[in-house]
Point group: C2
Chain length 107, copies 2
């Protein structure tokens, strides 16, 4: 078939997989790294830094944004992206829980 059977898994499991999916492309990791450094940067700045086109960069930004990891606001003609720290902390917790639980159960 080829269609992912999400319904077989718990909400919590799907949530963790969704977050992992956001981080599963190197461009999106690079984008997050760069936004962390520049503290409020535009799509064009990011695109130039990671050397992908503006449309591609914008697409990746939307994917990250949908997860809640990014905030954005227009300043002048540019939309400036910053990291949503609260969400980041929450998601860090999700991963930490997964790793710690698995670590403890495992042996």
């Amino acid at each position: 078939m080829g269609v992912s059977k999400r319904f077989l898994h718990s909400v919590h499991v799907n949530q963790l997989a969704d977050l992992a999916k956001v981080l599963s492309h190197p461009a999106r990791i690079s984008i997050l790294n760069y936004i962390g450094d520049c503290e409020g940067c535009s799509c064009m700045q990011i695109a130039s830094n990671i050397r992908l086109s503006q449309p591609t960069t914008s697409q990746h930004l939307q994917v990250i944004k949908k997860s809640g990891l990014l905030k954005s606001k227009f300043v002048g003609k540019s939309q400036l992206y910053t990291i949503n720290k609260d969400k980041l902390t929450a998601l860090k917790g999700l991963f930490q829980d997964f790793f710690e639980t698995t670590e403890q159960k495992c042996c």
Copy 2:
């Protein structure tokens, strides 16, 4: 085009993305959860537990195994999978570093 431009990113960034990719499918999270619980289980047991076919489950197992997160050995006619705790701990560290670094830079 449609082909991922890994070469644009650092080894470290690609490594993190690769690990995230392993965790980016709910079936693979469920498999890891289950293996943590049962401590040495067969492909068929896992397949039955997560309600995917044996071939699909085996495919997911290979994906996880390639990341180093699983060990396996034949016992009787079955191959029993267990979690590679050392690798798990290492990968936990990778994620933790990413989240902590990003958290501190971000604001």
